[in-house]
């Protein structure tokens, strides 16, 4: 007789470290969302005038906010690293001088670009100091 047994998927992501890392990667979206909301409130306050915007600035100077942003920073870094790790999967085969470009090379190029972009952004910010 046949009586196929279907195993449940509950807590599947705890079964393997690979899945745990995947869930951390997905969780970084919460940080990206949180930061977008912080900036949205900032732009909204900016439109409401000096007093409102100064309130937003004041909130950013509080210790809970600083700690919160350090957590967001860690999450953003995890996002960036995991983004370039998976990016080669979305690309068709690349060839340079007839040789296949390995995925690791693409990832490394992405990470280098990310570091360069971060430094360029800081340099730009530096040049725009009052």
């Amino acid at each position: 007789m046949r009586k196929p047994y279907v195993r449940p998927m509950t807590r599947w992501w705890r079964r393997d470290p690979y899945f745990v890392r995947y869930m951390w990667r997905e969780a970084t979206a919460l940080a990206v969302a949180a930061y977008a909301v912080v900036l949205t409130v900032g732009v909204w306050r900016l439109a409401q005038g000096q007093a409102a915007f100064d309130g937003w600035l004041q909130a950013l100077r509080s210790w809970p906010s600083i700690v919160f942003h350090l957590v967001l920073l860690a999450a953003m870094v995890i996002h960036a690293v995991s983004w370039f790790e998976i990016m080669p999967k979305t690309m068709p085969m690349l060839f340079v001088d007839g040789e296949r470009v390995p995925a690791a090379t693409i990832t490394r190029a992405g990470l280098v670009t990310a570091v360069a972009a971060a430094l360029a952004l800081f340099a730009l910010a530096w040049m725009l100091k009052p």
């Binding site: 977008a36 909301v37 950013l60 942003h69 983004w83 009052p130």
Partner: protein
């Protein structure tokens, strides 16, 4: 497998997800560091770096407007797409309500930022 399955509209949201993901991967960490840590603490950059007159001038500028609009809204659309699919991953039914909440939130962010930037003017 049903013959001729209906075409998914995922490409629209996936495109926004990809654009936002790339922007946040390249610029997210430094933006968070500058706006959330360095300027509030006055480290490396002065504490008045983001003062109202300076930020107003930035937001009134065409480049500043586009920067703020695209960074903030694309970050939101990226996050909305990933959070929606993650709900499915953790067993929450990924139906129309979840879809509306996730993408709706991104739309709200987009409209608030867009509206605010228009209100700020030039």
């Amino acid at each position: 497998m049903t013959p001729n399955p209906p075409r998914s509209h995922a490409p629209i949201f996936w495109g926004l997800f990809g654009a936002g993901g790339m922007l946040s991967a390249l610029f997210g960490p430094m933006l968070v560091l500058i706006t959330g840590v360095l300027v509030p603490l006055g480290l490396l950059l002065p504490p008045d770096y983001m003062s109202y007159p300076r930020m107003l001038a930035f937001a009134q500028n065409w480049i500043g407007k586009e920067f703020l609009f695209f960074v903030i809204s694309l970050f939101a659309w990226h996050a909305a797409h990933r959070i929606f699919y993650s709900l499915h991953d953790v067993g929450v039914h990924a139906g129309p309500v979840a879809r509306l909440l996730c993408y709706g939130a991104a739309l709200v962010v987009t409209l608030v930022v867009g509206g605010s930037l228009l209100a700020i003017g030039w």
